[in-house]
C-alpha cells in the first residue's frame, strides 16, 4: 500500500509548499505554548521548586499525544515511518547538554521556544533571554573545534527505548503513558503537600472531567497499541533512507 505521509517526502506537496506550511504549524505551537502558560518565566521556573508542576504535565501530555499519534499513524499505514527523521542518540553529549540546559532554564526562566513566545507577548525578560541564547549558540559555533570531538562522541545511532529495554514497541508506549499519568499525579501531590493547597478554580469539576476523559482516552489507545508486534509499527522491508541514521 502506498502511504501518503510525510506529504513532502512522498511527493504530494513540493518543497516550497512544505516551507510555507511550517508557518501555520508554528502558529499552533506558539498558540499552545501561550495557553500552557509557558510565556510566563515564573511558571516555568516554579516547576523546579514544585510550586507549579504544570510544565512537566504539559510536556508529558505533548509527548503522549505525539507518541500515540506517530506510532498509531505508522501502524494503520498512513505515515511511512522510514521517511520520518529520527533523532539519533549521542549519549554523553546529550546528558551533559541536558544538565547545562536545565541549569540555564532555572537561571534564565525560559527555553528557546518559550522565550520567543514570551517575547511575542511583550515579556522583556524573554527578549533578554533570547539575546543570551544567541550569544551562547555563537560561542558554541565559533569555538566548535574545542568541543567538536566531544559533540560527536558516544554515538549510538537512532536508538529507541524499546530496543534498549528489549521489549516490544507497543508495550513501551503503554509503559510511557502509564508513567506519564503516574508522574503527573505524583508531582501534583508534591505541589499540594509543600505549597498552598489547590486553588479554587470556578470550573474545577469541569476541568477535572475534561482532563480525566482525555487521559483515559490516551490510556485506552496505548493498551490497544500494546497488543501489536513491533514489526507492524515499522515496516522492516523498507530500506531506510540516508537521513535515518542506522544503528552500528
Amino acid at each position: 500500500m502506498d502511504m501518503i505521509a510525510p506529504l513532502v517526502k512522498t511527493g504530494v506537496i513540493d518543497a516550497a509548499t512544505n516551507l510555507w506550511l511550517a508557518i501555520p504549524i508554528g502558529f499552533i505551537f506558539g498558540f499552545a505554548l501561550f495557553h500552557a502558560g509557558f510565556t510566563d518565566s515564573r511558571r516555568i521556573a516554579w516547576a523546579f521548586y514544585f510550586k507549579d508542576v504544570g510544565v512537566p504535565v504539559v510536556m508529558f501530555s505533548a509527548i503522549v499525544t505525539g507518541m500515540l499519534g506517530l506510532w498509531g499513524m505508522s501502524l494503520i499505514g498512513f505515515i511511512d515511518i522510514s521517511k520520518v527523521y529520527m533523532l539519533p542518540t549521542y549519549l554523553l553529549p546529550m546528558a551533559i547538554g541536558g544538565l547545562l540546559f536545565g541549569i540555564g532554564m532555572v537561571v534564565g526562566g525560559y527555553c528557546p521556544g518559550t522565550a520567543i513566545a514570551a517575547f511575542a507577548t511583550g515579556k522583556i525578560d524573554g527578549i533578554v533571554f533570547i539575546v543570551g541564547f544567541l550569544i551562547g549558540s555563537l560561542i558554541f559555533g565559533d569555538f566548535f573545534p574545542v568541543w567538536g570531538d566531544f559533540y560527536n562522541s558516544d554515538y549510538m545511532g537512532a536508538f529507541r527505548l524499546d530496543q534498549w529495554l528489549g521489549i516490544g514497541l507497543g508495550p513501551t508506549v503503554l509503559l510511557i503513558v502509564l508513567a506519564a499519568v503516574a508522574g503527573s499525579l505524583f508531582l501534583r501531590q508534591v505541589q499540594y503537600r509543600f505549597w498552598s493547597a489547590k486553588e479554587a478554580h470556578p470550573k474545577a469539576e469541569q476541568v477535572l472531567k475534561l482532563q480525566g476523559g482525555l487521559i483515559a482516552t490516551a490510556v485506552v489507545i496505548a493498551i490497544v497499541l500494546a497488543f501489536f508486534e513491533t514489526p507492524s509499527f515499522i515496516d522492516d522491508t523498507v530500506e531506510p533512507p540516508h537521513y535515518i541514521v542506522p544503528r552500528n
Binding site: 508557518i23 505554548l33 551533559i96 541549569i103 537561571v107 520567543i116 550569544i135 559555533g141
Partner: protein, 170 residues
C-alpha cells in the same frame, strides 16, 4: 473551552502534540525552536564577518552551495510560533510589556540572570543537538533514548541549580 483565559495543562499539551503530529505528517520531521535561532545568529555573524562564517567548522554548513541560512524549515516555524503566541495573548488580553520575576527579585537581578541563563542554554542546546521542543518532546515521542536522557538531565540540572537562584522566583 472559552478563549478568554488559559487552558488547563492537559489540553494545552495535547495541542502542542498536535503541532508535532502535523509537522511529521507534512514535513517528515519534528518541530523545533533552537535550530532557527542558531541559523539567525549565523546569518547575523555572516553579515559582519562573511568569510570567517562561511569557513566556520560549525556554521559553514548553513552556507554550503550558496544557501541562505534563513531559507529553512525551522526559521519558518519560528515565524509561525511568534505570530501564534502573539494572537493567543491578544485574544486573552495578556499583551503587556513587563519583566516577570518573583516577589523578592529586582528588575536588574532578573535581567542579568535572564541573560546568563540564555547564554548557558544556548551553548547547551547546541551541544545536545536541540532544545526542549525539537529534542525532548519530538525525540521523546519518537522514543529516542538520547531524548529521554536529555529530558531527565534537564530536570536534574534545574533542581540542582534551583536553590542558588531561589530569590529570583519565590
Amino acid at each position: 473551552m472559552k478563549l478568554d483565559k488559559r487552558w488547563p495543562p492537559v489540553p494545552a499539551g495535547i495541542l502542542i502534540g498536535v503541532s508535532m503530529l502535523l509537522a511529521w505528517i507534512v514535513a517528515g520531521r519534528g518541530i523545533g525552536a533552537s535550530g532557527g535561532m542558531t541559523r539567525f545568529v549565523a546569518w547575523v555573524q555572516h553579515g559582519l564577518f562573511p568569510a570567517a562564517t562561511v569557513e566556520s567548522a560549525y556554521f559553514g554548513k548553513y552556507f554550503a552551495n550558496a544557501a541562505h541560512p534563513l531559507n529553512d524549515y525551522v526559521v519558518f516555524l519560528l515565524a509561525g510560533l511568534l505570530i501564534g503566541a502573539f494572537v493567543a495573548a491578544w485574544l486573552t488580553g495578556r499583551l503587556r510589556f513587563e519583566v516577570l520575576r518573583g516577589p523578592r527579585s529586582t528588575v536588574a537581578y532578573r535581567i542579568v540572570l535572564a541573560l546568563g541563563g540564555g547564554v548557558i542554554s544556548g551553548f547547551a542546546a547546541r551541544l545536545a543537538r536541540g532544545c526542549t521542543s525539537g529534542h525532548a518532546l519530538v525525540g521523546g515521542a519518537e522514543l529516542s533514548v538520547g531524548a529521554w536522557v536529555f529530558m531527565m538531565c534537564i530536570f536534574a540540572g534545574g533542581w540542582m541549580a534551583a536553590w542558588f537562584v531561589r530569590k529570583q522566583w519565590i
